[in-house]
């Protein structure tokens, strides 16, 4: 059955997209979770919707306009974060709502815009991925993985302790923007697969799952990428077997199931370790807000 599927171009494209998303989202997500910015992906996702709608309005490929708008949004979020304390929270919220409302509004007045199209971006439509989409996604994925490989060491220090990064002479502002922009690119990659409202799930859940089982940063990231691929490919397969199963939701629910499983296994693993306090390792779950 799988061999038959692999012959179909639609499935091939979807599989490539799922693989790339499964790899990239948790890799960036590890840094973002460590930086206590687990909701950054959500924020960018909301803003990206305006980008998608702009694409429809101007007759440009929505993925490209989404890249531009979400990068601008990510930079704006980072600037607000770096500057503000309490007011930053509210400023971010305003940006999120503006992103969603702007997207819905622009989509409404765009000539080819429809609720179905809107939904396909909000909740993903992996089956409708085109060859052109795949090229953009692949290029973005290369950029994301490249950033992780080249800047990984510095980003680790930054996300661990920003002040330490500064005292080591690292370009803190540049690296902060870099991680925000990389997150924006990841959001766009994941947009077609799981949808803008669930994008952040693939950046956060595999990391939360992985950290139940690991002791180091590098291994957490590696395992999270594995979990990400398993969830996204698994969800895709589930939706291919039954047309009623929406792939985006299937991917996220699979990832969540993995998390629950790891929670149990992790407790067992930790009991085996001696003299270790588990308090600090408890998962920091946040209620993912769907505004």
């Amino acid at each position: 059955m799988i061999m038959d599927l692999l012959q179909e171009q639609l499935f091939q494209l979807a599989l490539v997209a799922a693989l790339l998303v499964g790899l990239c989202a948790p890799a960036v997500g590890t840094f973002i979770v460590q930086r206590r910015l687990a909701l950054l992906g959500d924020g960018i996702g909301h803003v990206a919707l305006t980008g998608v709608a702009l694409g429809f309005l101007t007759g440009t490929t929505p993925v490209l306009t989404a890249v531009i708008v979400s990068v601008v949004g990510a930079v704006a979020i980072e600037l607000v974060r770096a500057r503000g304390r309490t007011s930053g929270d509210v400023a971010l919220a305003l940006l999120f709502y503006g992103g969603i409302a702007g997207g819905v509004m622009l989509m409404g007045i765009a000539p080819g815009g429809s609720n179905a199209k809107l939904n396909s971006y909000l909740f993903g439509a992996i089956a409708s991925v085109t060859v052109q989409d795949i090229w953009v996604i692949a290029a973005l994925a290369v950029a994301v993985i490249g950033v992780v490989v080249v800047f990984g060491r510095e980003l680790f220090v930054l996300c661990q302790d920003e002040e330490m990064a500064r005292a080591s002479g690292l370009p803190v502002r540049f690296l902060s923007l870099l991680i925000a922009v990389t997150a924006a690119l990841t959001v766009v990659i994941a947009m077609r697969v799981v949808g803008l409202l669930l994008v952040s799930a693939l950046m956060v859940i595999p990391v939360a799952t992985s950290q139940q089982l690991t002791r180091g940063f590098r291994t957490t990231m590696g395992l999270a990428m594995l979990f990400g691929v398993l969830a996204s490919v698994g969800g895709l397969l589930a939706s291919t077997y039954s047309a009623k199963v929406p792939p985006g939701a299937a991917i996220v629910l699979l990832a969540l199931a993995g998390f629950v499983l790891a929670l149990g296994v992790g407790k067992f693993v930790r009991r085996g370790r001696t003299q270790e306090s588990t308090v600090s390792e408890r998962p920091k779950m946040r209620v993912e807000e769907v505004a």
Partner: protein, 259 residues
């Protein structure tokens, strides 16, 4: 290029209009082991952060090896030990990973970890006696052990100057002694040390200069102050019931401090 490690002239820092440093002049020469002493809120932690450019000055100037912090490029010469280990958002990191990050100022972006990096990290872990915990997550260590991780991270960078913000605070006696022995070794190698301390304890013999900060100003600069009276008894625990009533003398700023 100047070889003076730090040179602050009339350094001033205010937070929201409230002055914390009110004109500090401080020069640290190579090989010196300077203890910054003072009560909580005296500004000593702000001073070390200002020396490194982590807290911008609102007045005056400061130089690191002859350059203002913003234009300083030789960060590998500085080993900063912050007060506490930050563990971030819950992603585990091993002791080795954190200690290895102390090499960051010596590593270029595209070069892989070199044998020299590995040797320095192994040496640093050995020096703080954490080699056997190298693969454990730092989150699982006790406070004293985390303090040793921070010191190892600075050691791994093999800097010329160590800047330590309260390395002995909340640390058990064994770790204090270990720190003192480690510092003594650094001093023998001619390294420069600036440390913020609440009490010197076993560090006392290696300190060459004591700078007492009081209300954002230098109240004493010179020979390290020695404990007197009750405080000089061996085994004296610094729990100062008399903290609120400082006696006269230049040294009370740090002695008369609530624990």
């Amino acid at each position: 290029m100047s070889e003076t490690a730090f040179a602050m002239t009339d350094g001033r820092v205010s937070f929201d209009g409230k002055p914390v440093l009110r004109g500090i002049d401080l020069t640290v020469c190579p090989g010196e082991v300077v203890a910054l002493l003072g009560a909580n809120g005296s500004g000593k932690s702000t001073l070390v952060r200002a020396l490194l450019g982590l807290t911008p000055l609102t007045g005056g100037s400061t130089l690191m090896y002859g350059s203002p912090p913003g234009r300083f490029r030789e960060w590998w010469r500085i080993g900063y030990v912050p007060q506490r280990l930050q563990v971030g958002g819950g992603v585990p990191a091993t002791v080795r990973e954190v200690v290895a990050s102390g090499r960051i100022a010596r590593q270029s972006r595209l070069r892989r970890t070199s044998p020299a990096d590995k040797a320095a990290v192994a040496g640093a872990l050995e020096a703080v006696r954490l080699a056997d915990r190298a693969n454990d997550p730092v989150q699982s260590l006790s406070g004293g052990q985390q303090q040793r991780v921070l010191i190892a991270r600075a050691l791994a960078g093999e800097p010329d100057t160590y800047v330590m913000d309260e390395p002995t605070a909340g640390v058990d006696a064994d770790t204090q002694q270990l720190l003192a022995d480690t510092l003594a070794g650094l001093v023998r190698d001619g390294k420069t040390v600036v440390l913020v301390a609440h009490e010197l304890g076993p560090l006392e013999p290696i300190i060459t200069r004591g700078v007492v900060i009081r209300e954002g100003r230098v109240a004493h600069d010179g020979r390290p102050p020695r404990p007197e009276g009750d405080c000089a008894r061996p085994g004296h625990e610094h729990q100062h019931p008399h903290a609120a009533t400082p006696a006269a003398g230049p040294l009370t700023g740090w002695q008369g401090e609530a624990p």
